[in-house]
Amino acid sequence: MSALPLVALVGNPNAGKSALFNALTGARQKLGNYPGVTVERKAGRLALSDGRPIELVDLPGTYSLSPGSPDEQVTRDVVMGRQAGERRPDALVIVVDAANLDNHLRFALELIALGLPTVVALNMVDLATRDGLELDAAVLSRELGVPVVSTVAVRKRGLDHLREALESLLNGAPRAYPSGEPRDFDANRAEARRIARAAIVRETPSRRLTAAVDRVALHPVAGLVLLLALLFVMFQAVYAWSEAPIAFIEGLAEAAATAVRDTLPDGILRSFLIDGVINGVGSVVVFLPQILILFFFILMLEATGYMVRAAFLMDGLMARVGLSGRAFIPLLSSFACAVPGIMATRTIADPKDRLTTILIAPLMTCSARLPVYAVIIGAFIPARDVGYGVGLQGLVLFCLYVAGIVGAMLVALVLRMTVTKGASGGFLMEMPKYQWPRPQDIALGLWQRAVIFLKRAGTIIFASTVILWLLLSFPRVPDGDPTSQVDHSIAGRIASGLQVVLEPVGFNRDISLALIPAMAAREVAVSALATVYSIDAGDDEAALEQSLGDRLKSQWPLPTALAFLAWFIFAPQCISTIAVTRRETNGWRWPLFMVGYLFVLAYAAAGITYWTATAAGL
């Protein structure tokens, strides 16, 4: 089969490109990566009005064809036909923001000069109208020499026109495009300005929503209060909104375990299904609601345009530890997961700023640590009120998050004075207009995140749980032997060896055991403990009835539990983070450095916590 015609969406950041892409392709999107770089490739299918399918690819937004970051480089290389793993597009859709013509047309002129069949999507005309700007698309089309279609991602009519324009581009015979001498930057800018002026029919100054909101949102005091309030609501919601869906998933897992217990005879298969699959994977899938809530907030903050304001507010503080305010966005995303967080550092132009941000991203308490924190806090920290309606459990959790942030800032400071020494890269960002995101875009983003998480649960987490179950279940304890199955198993013997290293910081055999598979993903520590205790309990009905929290409480001294929490503030283990760091830094040097320093810090934190708690007689 010959490949489908390829059409690329290109344009400035904040031109509304992604919303247009979503509106054109719907949920039929394929996310992938360009080979050799971790730039995400977003592609989707689109049917022309004659039913012919084409492939539409959404290129990273950029301001010109002189790239300032790896993302922007991909855009340049694709439109030039030089990107590995991508054929040269058959046509371009240049997306320009109707309210920012002077600037966006300059890049459009640069793209039109490439000579590819091109249509310009004059996007977000509704927002321009809101600001009192009226444009003539026909004038624009005449001046640019290419078709121009007015679009608003939420309205179907513009999208149909765009489809028709693409169809005639792809059907039509190759046309002569204005090529001639390539103009330089300044000539393009002057030309863009001339065309923009010609196309503007009327411009009445009107009240601008964005300016009004920014007076509060960017205020040195009020803005900071607003930011902290938003973050507080976000973390509260992660717990408050997730209770019901979590109970639902737990109910499902229990029902599944009961069904298996009722249908299968006692034996290896039943143990495998209940102890390995249902207990192991179930204990991780249960965190899907919390992860989705966190991502919901992050997607909303990005889509409304607030995230850049947060970076603006944080820049002063970030500058003190040698980072840029831009680092705030990847670091905030790292609260959900360090992998997208590290990928988001690609927008940081300065290589040393970027490297420092990558190295500290794993210190942001990611959602995979939540299961661990939740189980240990639930078991060991009494649900007491410490006054003013603040619960002790919530307070401990908050302290763990703060410890991660403080740790990250200190590490950044040290790194900036040592391994990533150099002048600070600065902070330059466009502040887009505020806008209300389309619910479909948010829903699509959440859906994509959920699929990624469940895939992970179904592959990495499933596989490591199964392997752990195997290692724990064999060799079987001979009948009549008093040693426990766990002690007798391969995993138990490995853990006993590892325990020599971990015992000084108060870790028992079960923790040593849980830390091995937790290399695959941090939350596996919980499923591993669940599997260990599930196998340990064997046929003991009373023990099986106990929850994981109760079992831990009866078996671990408090200092051990606290040391375990302290370990997880720094917890180096997570294969995906290591892999993405290797890709982003092009080698093994930095991921190894990262894992090394995290191990040292985790060990020290656990040790200090354990010794202090023991000395305090806890």
């Binding site: 600037n103 800018r189 040195p220 970076a311 603006f312 507010l313 820049d315 305010g325 600065g426 960002m429």
Partner: protein
């Protein structure tokens, strides 16, 4: 007057840009944001509690955040629009 000294929300024009205070990539990015001699500018917000944070300013139709070090490289002029401003 430097852009850092321009009172908030007072429209002005870019008189001169001291490119030597900016790195090549910063200069390039600022040019892409539409910063050029003659462009209309307006300081909108200053970040940070002690006025040491970044500056948000309007350049043409765009709103840009930059650090004070960058803003100091931009010399601005208030007052009537000249013919050169219109051309730019």
């Amino acid at each position: 007057m430097r852009l850092t000294d321009l009172p908030l929300r007072q429209p002005a024009y870019v008189d001169l840009i001291d490119w030597t205070l900016l790195s090549a990539s910063e200069g390039q990015r600022l040019r892409e944001f539409g910063l050029c001699e003659g462009a209309s500018v307006e300081a909108l917000h200053r970040g940070g509690l002690w006025g040491k944070g970044p500056v948000a300013c309007r350049i043409g139709r765009m709103t840009i955040a930059m650090r004070r070090a960058h803003a100091a490289a931009v010399i601005v002029r208030t007052g009537p629009v000249t013919e050169a401003d219109e051309q730019a």
